[in-house]
Subunit: 250 residues, 2 copies
């Protein structure tokens, strides 16, 4: 095993370490995705394509993987630079553009897994999942619920997120409500999430959802574990199952 990965021993077999090095991750959206990318790269996933047309803003710094000097710059390029400072021989590609129906198929093709961290400004995140399904690519959906991380994995041959939810407007909110209702049905209510949703819906102006570093870091750990399990052919919980992790519920 390379010196860099020597402390992965026992947990990760040398053959697995070699395999994941070239397992091609498509990071669609470099917001919450920026934290996942670092955790996955350090673990040993050295092939990452970052696609995001957004630029870094000061308000990202509470939870995303950017520094003061990155403000005003391309997220995809800033993240690439940061990842290469950790591992200069990693195969990191940055594409400073927003994913749309014109470039989507070309961007997806050639990857083994996709992390769908795209903004719901249109139905693009749902169309993205459809294309991944056509190319037989599993899709990981990471969500930041402040004190807790939510991760959903869509199987190429399985159910899609939209199968339970109508339209794309407020999709993430509806998805979280769906999850909360599921938990309630199984007698594991999440009053803290319900309370946050009420406060968010009662805000005077329509603002982007609040998010904390706590959920981003938890989600990064969960996603890296799931990517490893998929890459090595191990069992994974697919949608409609999900992972919700928070110390409030523990």
């Amino acid at each position: 095993m390379e010196e860099r990965y020597s402390r992965n021993r026992i947990y990760v077999h040398p053959k697995e370490q070699k395999l994941i090095k070239h397992f091609r991750i498509l990071l669609a959206g470099a917001g919450i995705g920026s934290i996942i990318a670092e955790c996955a790269l350090r673990f040993g996933f050295e092939s990452i394509t970052i696609v995001d047309g957004d630029i870094v803003e000061e308000s990202n710094l509470n939870r995303q993987n950017y520094r003061m000097e990155d403000i005003g710059k391309s997220k995809a390029e800033a993240l690439k630079k940061h990842l290469l400072s950790i591992n200069p021989t990693a195969n990191i590609t940055s594409i400073n553009t927003f994913i749309d129906t014109d470039n989507m198929e070309e961007l997806i093709n050639g990857h083994d897994i996709a992390i769908n961290a795209l903004d719901f400004k249109s139905d693009i995140p749902l169309v993205f999942d459809e294309w991944c399904q056509k190319y037989n690519i599993p899709v990981i959906h990471p969500y930041n619920i402040g004190w807790g991380g939510l991760v959903i994995v869509v199987k190429p041959t399985g159910m899609q997120l939209k199968d339970f939810i109508d339209g794309w407007e407020n999709f993430e909110l509806k998805l979280v409500e769906h999850i909360v209702n599921y938990c309630k049905f199984w007698e594991q209510p999440k009053p803290w999430i319900e309370n946050i949703i009420i406060q968010y819906e009662n805000e005077k102006s329509i603002l982007p959802a609040p998010q904390l570093s706590i959920a981003s870091w938890i989600v990064a750990g969960l996603c890296t574990n799931i990517i490893f399990n998929i890459a090595t052919g191990q069992k994974v919980k697919y949608y409609p199952k999900f992972h919700l992790s928070s110390i409030i519920d523990s």
Copy 2:
């Protein structure tokens, strides 16, 4: 609320955001502590004292918060530089020294919480907890169990880790075995941890325990949440209770 923390809204009250800014964290050990520090800083904990006499090695890069250019340099200083690149006005102090009985009391004094991520090369981590108890400082113990994060919080007036475990040799291993036995007793066995312990004990040479980025990121999220709860006077699970988080058990 400052622009930097604008997306913390709803979860974090402006008064809490102000309060945690000056809540003084002592980071004793900048290994796993290096990941916790970034998550806590981004959340809003702007007063952090980093104490570590160690230097960065290539084998740290699989899970700790360092880059190639940091190799051979002081962990405490490299981490300070990195944290200031995220928030240049934060109050970050780096002390490039190992904690021992001579400097311990002086280092602990003046902090509101301590993260005990010290190496068990002697009984120093246990003596550290005793001094924190004298100064009425809660101590957070973060542990990396590869696929899962373990976090234990020692209350100033409560039980100490050593109350259940004899001696300091192999302390972390004995502690994890203690936790695993506790889980077994309550019919929530953790065969994956037992399996790792057996493999670790069977290694031909005595090596430092293996650790993965996955646990470091999960632990960072948990610890930041716990620090916030302590800072704002909320309920916390103290030792002998603990937090163990992994997707294997979910």
